[in-house]
């Protein structure tokens, strides 16, 4: 039995989460607001992963888990898969080879970064910024500053999906740190750094 929810309602809810935390609960403290939003995402990711992996066997290694996030998890959430997965993951963990274990462990400290790129991130598809810089009567705003403000506003909306990814991977037994980068809307890259 699948229950459905209007997508417009979901979009409005997500917009309002960011708006409430930034403008009402933690005014002038964007780092705190970001952390709270990310924590909500963490819970959501945790619960969603429990639900979506209910009939699957355990993942054999980190790459399999990341591939699950890119394909099945992303399809359930955003109706599409990740378009591009980049990694500098070169060495896979072989516990039988004891004498190489130490060397491999140190390798892991340097590697274990994954970049997930979505070329049309659904939650950013309606977002758009000023086409031109307006020189309003109050004074001239340098182009860099207004760019920064819009970049900051956009990045606030990415803490929730970052939290979801972090929660999902933690549930699968992979502690990590996730950050996002939107240099060109609506494409979006999530950088996952796996903690050893």
């Amino acid at each position: 039995m699948v229950r459905e929810v209007s997508e417009s309602c979901m979009d409005s809810l997500l917009t309002e989460i960011v708006s409430s935390y930034c403008n009402r609960f933690y005014v002038n403290k964007p780092e705190l607001a970001a952390r709270r939003i990310e924590a909500i995402g963490y819970q959501v990711g945790h619960q969603l992963t429990e639900r979506y992996t209910i009939e699957r066997p355990r993942f054999s290694d980190h790459l399999e888990a990341i591939k699950f996030i890119c394909k099945d998890f992303w399809s359930e959430l955003f109706k599409k898969q990740i378009d591009n997965l980049k990694t500098n993951h070169r060495v896979s963990f072989r516990p039988q080879i004891l004498q190489l274990e130490v060397a491999i462990q140190t390798f892991w400290l340097l590697q274990g970064t994954f970049v997930l790129q979505d070329n049309k991130f659904r939650w950013l598809s309606h977002m758009s910024v000023d086409p031109s810089v307006d020189i309003s009567g109050a004074g001239q705003e340098p182009f860099a500053m207004s760019e920064n403000k819009s970049a900051q506003a956009t990045s606030m909306h990415l803490y929730f999906p970052c939290g979801i990814i972090r929660g999902a991977l933690s549930t699968l037994g992979i502690p990590c740190a996730v950050s996002a980068d939107t240099s060109n809307l609506p494409a979006c890259s999530f950088v996952i750094r796996i903690k050893v």
């Binding site: 997500l14 708006s19 309606h126 977002m127 910024v129």
Partner: protein
């Protein structure tokens, strides 16, 4: 039928080509008269500065709506002329045409008014205006970075709108 001059004296502008530019300009107002958007694609003559132009347009439509609703022969209500009406109350005026342009109008239940000025040979644009209203909902209302009641500054909205309007016949 024109009493004060035939079409030879004030000829219509040249017929539009298939490649677009049939629309001259577009206004979007909200319920309070704030001009949210003004787009111009083809306007050879400008007589007023933009503030006055917007006020004139808003006032014109407000009066026209009021007038057409009061002159409605099928309605039984006999209110006074000039009483403000809720959107959707009374009959809804949707376009007027002169020999040089056609103005199409649509008001949403939330009070958003869309005005499109086109070539006089344009057909009924009510469906197009509804589509433009949909674009407004998708790219402006749902944009987290937009504050309602302020002028629209959205690149996505502008590009999609331009693309759509170029395709209008």
């Amino acid at each position: 039928m024109q009493f004060f001059g035939g079409s030879e004296i004030s000829p219509s502008p040249p017929l539009p080509t298939a490649s677009g530019n049939n629309a001259h300009m577009m206004y979007i107002f909200n319920r309070n008269g704030v001009c949210l958007l003004y787009r111009e694609w083809n306007r050879p003559l400008r007589t007023l500065d933009s503030n006055q132009d917007h006020k004139l347009m808003f006032g014109l439509l407000f009066s026209l709506k009021s007038l057409t609703a009061k002159m409605d022969p099928s309605s039984a209500e006999k209110g006074n002329l000039g009483v403000p009406q809720l959107p959707g109350q009374g009959c809804s005026f949707h376009s007027f045409r002169t020999n040089t342009y056609k103005l199409s109008f649509m008001e949403s239940p939330s009070g958003i008014k869309i005005i499109l000025v086109t070539h006089p040979k344009a057909s009924d644009l009510r469906e197009s205006l509804k589509y433009i209203y949909n674009l407004y909902v998708e790219y402006v209302v749902k944009n987290p970075l937009y504050t309602p009641g302020t002028p629209i500054r959205s690149e996505l909205f502008n590009t999609t709108l331009d693309q759509y309007v170029r395709g209008l016949g």
